[in-house]
Amino acid sequence: MTAPLLEVRHLRVEFPTRRGTLLALDDISFDISPGEVLGVVGESGAGKSLTGAAIIGLLEPPGRIAGGEILLGGRRIDNLPYEQMRAIRGKRIGAIFQDPLTSLNPLYTVGRQLTETILTHLPVSAEEARARAVKLLQETGIPAAEQRLEQYPHQFSGGMRQRVVIALALAAQPELIVADEPTTALDVSIQAQIIALLKRLCKEHGAAVMLVTHDMGVIAETCDRVAVMYAGRICEIGPVHEVIHHPAHPYSRGLMGSIPAMDDTRERLLQIDGAMPRLNAIPKGCAFNPRCPQVMERCRSERPELRDARHTRAACWLHAQEADS
């Protein structure tokens, strides 16, 4: 067992507001090993993107890390001063965001953005940086890379832009890539190309990936492990096959059952009634208890922590009983 590349320990993220403090992430802990792909799923507002933002140090104020720690290669990075974090971001952690148009600067050519990133983080000359930029674009499957360097982002299509963003994220050979919904804005045929590309390049460059998405299909094809988030907490984490086929937490079970699959013949989809609670009204005990079909007395008063459940780790009292008996 190698040492984990990224360790997140009891991470808490708060948003102080006039009407009191909202707890957006509550006691999040997980590891990512070198070269591993970890998927993070959940519905809008579950805190997936916030977890990614906290790791790359780009929490939007007034959001702040209120507790816990984040370690990259054994060193804490959550309390670094702004300039030091800036040096790590891009160099050791690359980021890919959902919308490829807003993550590129419309006023600079693609070549300038790539060479600038390379020159900032790697000790190379301008010519070497340019050669590297061409190579990166070629690797991401952009034809006529040499000419494309001189073009502006608006001259690229959505899929091509996302390739440029991936090239940018990989420019300085980072150890970890945080990809936040990298394919959500793309059409299915392009989405398949981008996922295959991301998977291949991260393998070739040996980068670990934290892939945030709400698309279980993408997770199933790409990830080694997956974490399911609900209302600011991880409710289940485990190997991707186990979480999809043998989910232990009732929420993961509901989530998997609500997805229409290509080979199912059900007349009705499994439905979880109700909606995820707002941050200012998270229920006491297990946050899922008002919607849970297997709710027990204990769920309403005591909060479950992640514990071993068959093949995964789940935060649910159902599995505490199993362990006891």
Binding site: V188, E221, V240, I259, P260, D263, R268
Partner: protein, 332 residues
């Protein structure tokens, strides 16, 4: 069973030319987008036809043409045996037609008036069509509609911002159902929703179809959703219908190379760990579509004929309609 909606050779061309002054000074040409180009299909009463395709393929334009939000450039739409264009001359029959078909839009945040209470939103079609007289009967009717989509009658006093995305989409459905329509056009009704909420909305739509015998045109880019809700599926590419078949047939034996490509491209949760062959290329610019078969630059089976000649829709013995030279010639 008879067709409730029959569409023949429907086309819509948008003029996207630069302004007159630019055309004169910069010698720019006039430009046209063939958003929908010769689409024909029929929807039987009580069934669902789904249209799938990538962004820009014209599926939403078809939806808008059907409900009369756009005027077709060519072709005609028949509803229950009547030509809708002929009805336009008589306001009374047009109103009657509007009552019988309704639309559900994609974005539940944009399609509800934020300053109206739910009572007004759902009650508007009832008032507009004179289906309700007096506030008390309106309230009773709206309450009943809200209950039919799984909301509570007391919700009618609230504003849209007090609801979540899935609940708002239910309000849209309740509004569409208010006039007791026979035909509902649903333009990506669940794309803006989370999966668990999507399941709630899809289940409601299926229940309502069973109870009230509704006919749906369901527009989506998500093939797994389409497979779940539809009876028939039409696949569109750059404004044209490339394949139209029964759901089971289409998913079991896709004929057109584009349909095959789309099916191969969907990430499926049961394919854990396996990899698929991604398709090459992107959708071409609709301003400047390829000659012949619009799909030929991306098609692995294309030959010289595909680049030159536009394939006609043929019907196979299994009742599948497909527009592809390779299928017609038996090369595929």
């Amino acid at each position: 069973m008879s067709a409730l909606v029959q569409v023949d050779d429907l086309a819509k061309i948008f003029d996207v030319s630069p302004p007159w002054l630019n055309r004169v000074l910069e010698r720019k040409p006039r430009q046209f987008v063939h958003a929908v180009d010769g689409v024909s299909f029929a929807i039987r009463k009580g069934t669902t036809l789904a249209l799938v395709g990538e962004s820009g393929c014209g599926k939403s334009t078809v939806a808008r043409l059907l409900v009369g939000l756009y005027e077709p450039t060519r072709g005609r739409v028949q509803f229950d045996g009547q030509d809708t264009a002929a009805l336009k001359s008589s306001p009374a029959s047009l109103r009657n037609l509007r009552r019988r078909m309704q639309m559900i839009f994609q974005d539940p945040y944009a399609s509800l008036n934020p300053r109206w209470k739910v009572l007004d939103i759902v009650g508007e079609p009832l008032r507009e069509h004179g289906l309700c007289s007096g506030l008390e009967s309106l309230r009773a009717k709206v309450g009943e509609l809200l209950r039919s989509v799984g909301l509570a009658a007391v919700d009618m006093e609230k504003f849209p911002h007090q609801f979540s995305g899935g609940q708002r989409q239910r309000i849209s459905i309740a509004r569409a159902l208010a006039t007791q329509p026979e035909f509902l056009v649903c333009d990506e009704p669940t794309s803006a929703l989370d999966v668990s909420v999507q399941a709630q909305v899809l289940n409601i739509m299926k229940d309502l179809q069973r109870e009230q015998g509704l006919t749906y045109l369901f527009i989506s880019h998500n093939l797994a959703v389409v497979r779940h809700v539809s009876d028939q599926v039409g696949v569109m590419y750059l404004g044209r219908l490339v394949e139209l078949a029964d759901k089971i047939e289409l998913f079991a034996r896709p004929r057109h190379p584009y349909t095959r490509m789309l099916l191969a491209a969907i990430p499926d949760i049961h394919m854990s760990g396996s990899s698929r062959t991604p398709v090459q290329g992107e959708v071409p610019n609709p301003l400047n579509p390829p000659s012949g078969c619009a799909f030929h630059p991306r098609c692995p089976h294309a030959n010289a004929r595909c680049a030159a000649e536009r394939p006609a829709m043929i019907e196979t013995p299994q009742g599948v309609r497909v527009a592809c030279h390779a299928v017609q010639e038996g090369r595929l």
